[in-house]
């Protein structure tokens, strides 16, 4: 430390007097209100964070950084401890150097970082990273790893430690069942339920009968849950509800989402996170489009709704024009303006890749296009478009209702 002047505190000295003048106002840091039923996490791939929006007001409440390799994993919220967990990846030199995998723990009121839990496996990363990091009960997080094994790392949030790696060769995903069980989908057309002991270590697993064909008609990773049941949807539009309440997972129901006329018009499920379930009403939401084999990641112009009890379709929701909403917000166009109407008319709608539904009595359905930073908010009962969550980042394939 030499040179023209060794004046360590120059910047302090110069800046400080300003604050001493007429401090009519005091800068402070906001806190988060209690997590509401209509909140939604919106990950952005470019800024590597998740914005927390209030679906009712359309406002941003706060954000959680989620450094990752491709898509930030959406944060996990445990109300009983009032904590938010983010499964993160960092390199010591930005994109170079030593890799570290860790769970960051945040206070859910202040959003301040509390502590981290480093773990020795390498968490998977993909375009959607769907079902890659999930809560198992309130105590554990299961993290899906892809290399060198496909496996699940169990993290104990109470003891703040990595428990162990459970190798799940040929299977993928973490589908929570109860406080000590999760499921995975396997390449031979089955699902396995994996049970942990009290401390989170592997106890046993049980495998279902084969219920889908990976080549002919595989089920998507995107799926919806009601209690101890998960409903999976296949590329060709077959729904399979698996019941995990007994030891061995069994197929509780299996039906086709499309009738013959719809199939001949090539209506089929597709998108990125294109399946959602509202637990209390037992309604299944699926993004639908018209296309052939290989179109399973295309966005859809509609969300179809089924009552899973009767297996009858009860709704067909149109998509708001998210392209117009996205570009309009950058151009400073308000939603109730004439220009907005014109944009809606002129611009082609990008369609929907991703949906998520809130789990309360008056549910909202959040819809997004993976390449547009604008989220549509629909009344999940009627399909009415309520509002847009604008400036929601630039790109991201997923959503999560906390």
């Amino acid at each position: 430390m030499v040179g023209l002047l060794a004046l360590m505190l120059a910047a302090f000295s110069l800046a400080a007097p300003l604050a001493a003048e007429a401090p009519r106002e005091k800068a402070s840091v906001a806190t988060l209100p209690p997590m509401g039923n209509h909140s939604v996490w919106v990950p952005d791939r470019l800024t590597q964070h998740n914005l927390l929006f209030d679906g009712d007001s359309g406002e941003v409440l706060g954000m959680i950084d989620s450094p990752s390799l491709i898509t930030p994993k959406t944060p996990l919220f445990v109300r009983s401890r009032n904590e938010i967990y983010s499964v993160d990846i960092a390199h010591s030199r930005g994109t170079r150097g030593e890799r570290v995998d860790f769970v960051s723990v945040y206070d859910a009121t202040t959003l301040a970082f509390k502590h981290e839990i480093v773990f020795p496996t390498q968490s998977g990363s993909s375009n959607t990273s769907q079902q890659y990091a999930e809560l198992i009960g309130e105590r554990f997080i299961g993290v899906f790893n892809q290399f060198p094994n496909t496996s699940v790392a169990v993290i104990d949030l109470v003891e703040r430690r990595f428990v162990e790696e459970i190798v799940t060769t040929g299977c993928a995903g973490v589908y929570p069942i109860d406080a000590h069980r999760f499921a995975a989908l396997c390449g031979n057309g089955t699902t396995v339920a994996i049970e942990l002991d009290e401390s989170g270590s592997f106890k046993q697993f049980s495998r279902s009968a084969r219920f889908f064909d990976v080549v002919e008609d595989p089920v998507a990773m995107s799926a919806g849950r009601t209690g101890l049941r998960w409903t999976f949807v296949s590329f060709e539009g077959q729904a399979h509800t698996i019941d995990y309440s007994e030891g061995t997972p069994v197929v509780a129901a299996s039906w086709s989402l499309t009738d013959e006329a719809e199939r001949s018009n090539e209506w089929r499920p597709g998108g990125l996170q294109y399946v959602a379930v509202h637990g209390k009403s037992g309604r299944l939401f699926v993004v639908m489009h018209q296309g052939g084999a290989g179109s399973h990641k295309e966005s859809g112009p509609e969300v179809w709704v089924w009552d899973m009890a009767t297996q009858k379709r009860v709704g067909r929701f149109g998509s708001p024009n998210l392209t117009a909403a996205f570009l309009g917000s950058f151009m400073g166009v308000t939603e109730d303006s004439f220009v907005h109407d014109v944009l809606n008319w002129v611009l082609p709608s990008g369609g929907i890749h991703t949906i998520a539904v809130s789990q309360d009595e008056s549910p909202l359905l959040f819809v997004r296009n993976g390449m547009l930073g604008a989220i549509g908010v629909l009344d999940a009962t009627t399909g009415q478009s309520l509002r847009t969550l604008s400036e929601a980042g630039l790109a991201g394939p997923t959503l999560r209702v906390p």
Partner: protein
């Protein structure tokens, strides 16, 4: 970082109490190599009176975007560069949850359309979370290059915080100004 923030403010108040402003500035000027003077700090000419703490708070009853802290046209935003924190979980004077207020800032001098007065605005960066990315504003009234640093809005002012990661900017009224470029 709250500790440093408070320490800075206390330190500033102490300096302000114990040193006449001219003396303080002269001393600062003298610290410059070669004795060349720093441009005078705006506080020397900015304050409306000897006891500026009694200056009334600015009138915020303003219709339209000039009264909306989420708008780039908000009257306090005349020299902002970045995301307005009101769109990011904060407000015009509140950083979003989990961020940290930068202890050093740049300033602007903005005219309040409600009372017609010029106010000194401290643009504190909120730090420690990635770029909010909403309500991105860039206005440059009285903005100056980096060598005139306390009027420069290009600088990442999170440099003075624990984490230098920039999230968004708030616009806090710190006093009244008699002119728009009081360091003139």
């Amino acid at each position: 970082m709250k500790g440093l923030d408070e320490w800075l403010e206390q330190r500033a108040r102490k300096i302000a109490r114990n040193t006449s402003r001219r003396t303080f500035l002269a001393r600062l000027g003298g610290m410059l190599a070669g004795g060349a003077a720093l441009p005078l700090l705006p506080v020397a000419r900015a304050s409306a009176g000897p006891d500026s703490a009694r200056v009334p708070a600015p009138d915020e009853t303003i219709e339209g975007p000039e009264g909306d802290p989420k708008s780039c046209e908000y009257w306090r935003h005349c020299a902002i560069d970045g995301s307005a924190c009101a769109c990011c979980g904060g407000s015009s004077t509140t950083c979003p949850p989990g961020t940290e207020i930068s202890p050093v800032t740049w300033i602007g001098t903005c005219r309040n359309p409600a009372d017609g007065k010029e106010y000194l605005i401290s643009y504190n960066d909120c730090c420690g979370k990635t770029f909010c990315g909403r309500c991105i504003c860039n206005r440059n009234e009285g903005e100056r290059p980096e060598y005139h640093w306390y009027r420069n809005n290009d600088i990442n002012w999170c440099a003075g915080a624990t984490s230098q990661v920039y999230n968004c900017s708030i616009a806090v009224v710190v006093g009244q100004a008699t002119e728009s470029q009081p360091e003139k």
